[in-house]
């Protein structure tokens, strides 16, 4: 059963991947991290807003899609919300399978779809006092659409 968690707290990557290793031959994962800079300006914080209820549902639907498209034994999505400092983990997407290609492709799929299909909004606070909502990127839509 996929684990889907939307939470303010950090997560333990090693423990999450260890759970997926049971009975699998291959576990692939992706961890997203708050970068120190954006648009050449230094970040103080990245704040993640979400839509309680709808976000969990969307993330579950993405995990279900991955389970249907690849022969996975299990997968995990953990996405943090709230104010995060540079260097903080934002998201974990991971997939387990008997086969490495399935685990790797499903992981890429999970993170691509999380970017475009789950209600999260990123807000940047810079050291110079400026703030900005992160704009959606065309590349993210392209990455999503390669999965059909």
């Amino acid at each position: 059963m996929p684990i889907i968690r939307i939470q303010a707290e950090d997560f333990d990557v090693g423990a999450e991947l260890a759970r997926l290793e049971v009975g699998a031959g291959a576990v692939a994962s992706f961890v997203g991290i708050v970068r120190a800079e954006a648009h050449g300006k230094r970040l103080t914080a990245l704040t993640l807003e979400h839509y309680p209820g709808m976000t969990e549902r969307a993330a579950s639907a993405i995990a279900d899609q991955a389970m249907m498209r690849w022969p996975l034994s299990d997968c995990t999505i953990i996405h943090r919300i709230g104010r995060l400092a540079p260097g903080a983990r934002i998201v974990l997407a991971a997939a387990a399978s008997a086969h490495r290609a399935a685990a790797l492709e499903a992981t890429a799929f999970l993170i691509d779809w999380l970017k475009t299909d789950a209600p999260f909004w990123k807000h940047e606070t810079f050291t110079n006092g400026e703030t900005a909502w992160v704009a959606p990127r065309t590349e993210d839509d392209q990455a999503r659409s390669r999965w059909g």
């Binding site: 807003e49 839509y51 970017k115 909004w121 807000h123």
Partner: protein
């Protein structure tokens, strides 16, 4: 029909609150018409809905288009495109 409207991200910021209860007239039957009606509520609403082409909508947490009917909706949400992950 009294319905809860929710705003997220820069829509919430521009409007100044995350949620409001509204009672649009019976002539307002679609998301498109509701959007026009909300945009007229205040200058803040007008500013928030100025970039209507990029605004997404959900009825009771399900994505819908501008021609979706609002009858029976409990909660209608407006938000910009997602930027998670």
């Amino acid at each position: 029909m009294i319905v809860t409207i929710r705003y997220f991200a820069w829509l919430r910021e521009r409007i100044g609150h995350a949620e409001e209860r509204v009672d649009p007239p019976a002539s307002i039957t679609t998301i498109g018409a509701l959007t026009d009606w909300l945009a007229d509520l205040s200058p803040a609403h007008a500013n928030a809905f100025a970039q209507r082409a990029v605004i997404k909508t959900a009825i009771d947490q399900q994505f819908v288009n501008a021609d979706a009917l609002i009858a029976g909706a409990h909660e209608i949400a407006f938000f910009p495109p997602f930027t998670g992950g």
